[in-house]
């Protein structure tokens, strides 16, 4: 029964993401009344479906959803859509949905389509360990925060460009104010930074115990430390030196580019013990 529910959710979830992202895209670029009216329902339905999927998957495999890249990507998508759903219902702002849900959809599709055809279900036993599970879960939340921050940064730049040029298009009509986008970007970075810091602390405690070939000079550890320093610099610039506006969102986007590099190139090609793909 659980297996059937999990399998059905696995098929429905990518479809739900595509439909929701499509409705938000149509609403962003046109005034389609159907999409504008029902997009929030689609959002809630997708979030609830993903919530149940996380529950089904966890119950079926008897472990947290952080033991394979397939699971981690799906969890990042869930974190993004859940965070956005809360923001939308609290603020009533729907313009940012197109960007964030599209990003979540990309994570979910990558998880569902690409990694589904690999041996992604075979969990690395090390990742099933409690300490490492917490380490990875915290990192997922941290990276989701950085992704949200970067998306708000991209929206800021689009809005900035339209305001500067006086070409008032979709961004001008749909997005919240520059000030709101900047503060959302900074706040998401701050939340991401806190989670990444916590993840690093847990990692420092558990990784040397779990891996015999542990090295402090592993490229993945160094690149993560670099990401951490970048965000520390950004937060210091914002709160210590009162740097704001375009500069701060560029730092946020740059930080996320470093995250992506750290998660892809460094992880796949350079890292040694700290690689699970």
């Amino acid at each position: 029964m659980l297996h059937i529910a999990n399998s059905i959710a696995e098929v429905l979830l990518p479809i739900a993401y595509v439909l929701t992202a499509y409705m938000y895209a149509v609403s962003f670029f046109s005034d389609d009344s159907f999409s504008r009216r029902y997009r929030s329902y689609a959002l809630v339905a997708t979030t609830v479906l993903h919530f149940f999927y996380v529950g089904f998957h966890t119950s079926e495999y008897g472990r947290c959803m952080v033991t394979t890249p397939f699971e981690i990507m799906s969890l990042i998508a869930f974190t993004l859509i859940l965070t956005y759903t809360i923001i939308e219902f609290r603020s009533g702002e729907k313009g940012a949905g197109f960007f964030i849900i599209t990003l979540a959809m990309l994570f979910e599709l990558t998880s569902a389509v690409v990694l589904k055809f690999t041996d992604a279900y075979d969990a690395n036993p090390v990742l099933s360990h409690m300490g490492i599970g917490i380490h990875v879960t915290l990192a997922v939340f941290g990276y989701a925060g950085f992704a949200l921050s970067a998306m708000h940064g991209v929206m800021y730049l689009l809005m900035y460009r339209e305001l500067k040029r006086g070409s008032f298009g979709s961004a001008y009509r749909n997005l919240p104010s520059l000030e709101a986008l900047e503060s959302m970007s900074v706040l998401a970075s701050l939340v991401g930074f806190v989670f990444l810091t916590a993840s690093m602390i847990v990692g420092v405690i558990w990784l040397p115990r779990m891996f015999t070939d542990f090295s402090w000079f592993d490229p993945k550890l160094l690149s993560t430390a670099l990401v951490w320093l970048l965000y520390l610099g950004m937060i210091t610039a914002r709160y210590g030196m009162r740097v704001g506006g375009r500069r701060i969102v560029l730092l946020s986007i740059g930080g996320f580019a470093a995250v992506v590099l750290s998660l892809t190139v460094v992880n796949v090609f350079l890292s040694d013990f700290h690689r699970f793909l």
């Binding site: 009344s33 809005m159 006086g166 008032f168 009509r173 104010s177």
Partner: protein
Amino acid sequence: MIYAVGVNHHSAPVAVRERLHLSDDEITAFLRENKGKLFREASIVSTCNRTEFYALPMSSEVDGDVLIQELRNLRSSDPIGEEHFFRFMSCGAVSHLFKVASAVDSQILGDMQILAQVKHSYELALLAGSIGNVFNHLYMGAFHTGKRVRNETAVGIGAVSVSFAAVELARKIFSDLRDKHVLIVGSGETAALAARHLLDKGVDRLSVTSRTYDNAVALADQNRARAIRFENYANLIHEFDIVVSATSSPTPVVTHDAVKHAMKKRQNRPLLILDLAVPRDVEPRVNDLPNVFLRDLDSIQSIIDQNIVQRRAEIPRVNAIATEEVVNFFVWYNTLEATPTIQQLREKFEQVRAAEVDKFRNRIEGNSLDAVELLTRRIVNKLLHPAMVSIRKPLYDGGEISTRIQVVRDLFDLEAGCHDAMKDNGQE
């Protein structure tokens, strides 16, 4: 039959409209006085752009002309020409009210303030006791139409005046205008309007500067603002988040160097400069500075133009919603008149059916009789269904539902006396 007569911005110039504008007291007095004499139910919508009288007359002698005359009599000392009045009846009247409530008939397309004004007219009519079953349904339909239009279309979205567009622009940069500091450069009419509008939108901290200091003080006093001497303001630009410039100076009064200097002091926090002057007050290359957003009148006008185009594009959708709601209203309204005829028609068909089945009763075996009963009932229902539906349909050609009902009655030879009695009961 429902009538709508009156003057609005389509039919009459402002000089006529303002003469026929009615106060709340005048409206309630008029409705009270004529209830039961002129009409069964009625209401009046009176705003700066329209005075419209909606009525369900007491008899067929009271038509659009009579209602217009009654309105004209309200201003008998200063008569208004009949050519300024519009008139609608039946579907046209209901459709007009629904379009008014949905702001598609407003002078400023999509100005949703009208829905509140329509609600107010309903409240006045309730107070005067001139709202009955029909007008209650009519107004509920109008409110529902207005709400649907607001929720399902973008006809009210986007600013369509310079002052609103300027505030909309400011809100796209700053999330909350209340904690922003605004500087008005100039003390003329445009500057005064801008100051008033910004205060209306919640701006708390306002400063005014003008080449004539006394004028700046006067404008500042009117708007709870601070006056700044013109020779000092360039050194204070960094204190402001929004600068609105509207002087008649032939040369720029806000220079690139002054703003560049101010931005350094502001640590590059965003600065919005609205140049509402012609010739322009602000050097255009100010917009090249990072985090400075300079918009002039042309730029603001382009926002307005875009919004107007967008609002106009929504008109077909608004009309479709209004038409849908008019149909819903008339399906209900026509039922009032058609119900007695429908009942009689059903009874007549049932009598014929029962009589015919009776004739064949002896030839049908016991078990089959139920099946024959069921079959004949279904045939009768299917034959009657299209007639039942079309008899309630709204008429768009100005015709009357009673004519249609009479055709049905003549065709099927239904008794007349019974119909009239039932119709009266139904309407009351």
